[in-house]
């Protein structure tokens, strides 16, 4: 049973999206400038996983948009 998203949940989701976004860029830096093939390959895979995480978090917000109240609740 899906419930309306709380303010706290939204804050954690937003913070998590910032984290995933930063990790994507950091992985891209290793892929672009790294010299160890194993690390570059791994960072390339991790980059995709962080993108998926970001999308999952984004999807959670969009999933809760419709049931969110438009007036402040007590």
């Amino acid at each position: 049973m899906i419930q309306p998203m709380t303010g706290k949940e939204l804050e954690y989701i937003a913070d998590s999206m910032s984290n995933e976004d930063l990790l994507m860029k950091q992985c891209a830096a290793v892929v672009a400038t790294g010299t160890t093939p194993a690390l570059r390959n791994l960072c390339s895979q991790m980059l995709q996983t962080h993108q998926q995480h970001f999308d999952s978090l984004m999807h959670a917000i969009s999933h809760h948009q419709q049931m969110a109240p438009t007036q402040p609740q007590q």
């Binding site: 049973m1 998203m5 954690y12 950091q26 830096a29 290793v30 400038t33 790294g34 999952s56």
Partner: protein, 133 residues
């Protein structure tokens, strides 16, 4: 100096970059755990739990890759005496707690926790949709 146009240069070394990623992954695992424990909606809790697990897996893979590339020094092995000491100490603690439980719960002990009923209930919480994919 600019002989290699294709290979971009970074201000930080590769080791610095991956070390930063490793510590960020460790931090993000903790943040997902906190977020899961403070979630109200079961679906959001499940999302955070899955993201935590996935991040923990990546952290383990990166750690192993760094160790193979000699970029990570693990702490030195603990001495046998230290293991023996802790083992002895916690065997005593375990025994004392067993006595405490016996005195406190007595005959009730079998009826308090872990009844088959409750195990069935906890199994029902799963299901519904999940976001992670």
């Amino acid at each position: 100096m600019y002989q290699q146009q294709q290979q971009k240069q970074s201000i930080l070394t590769e080791e610095d970059l991956v070390s930063t990623i490793l510590s960020d992954l460790k931090r993000v695992v903790r943040e997902y755990a906190t977020a899961a424990t403070e979630s109200t909606c079961p679906d959001i809790r499940q999302l955070f739990t899955k993201l935590m697990d996935s991040t923990l897996t990546m952290q383990g893979q990166l750690f192993q890759a760094m160790q193979q590339a000699n970029m990570y020094n693990t702490s030195s092995p603990v001495l046998r005496q230290e293991l023996d000491k802790q083992m002895k100490q916690y065997q005593q603690i375990k025994q004392k707690t067993a006595q405490f439980l016996q005195q406190t719960l007595g005959q009730q002990q079998n009826q308090t926790m872990y009844t088959p009923n409750m195990q069935q209930q906890s199994g029902q919480q799963q299901g519904s949709q999940n976001y992670y994919n």
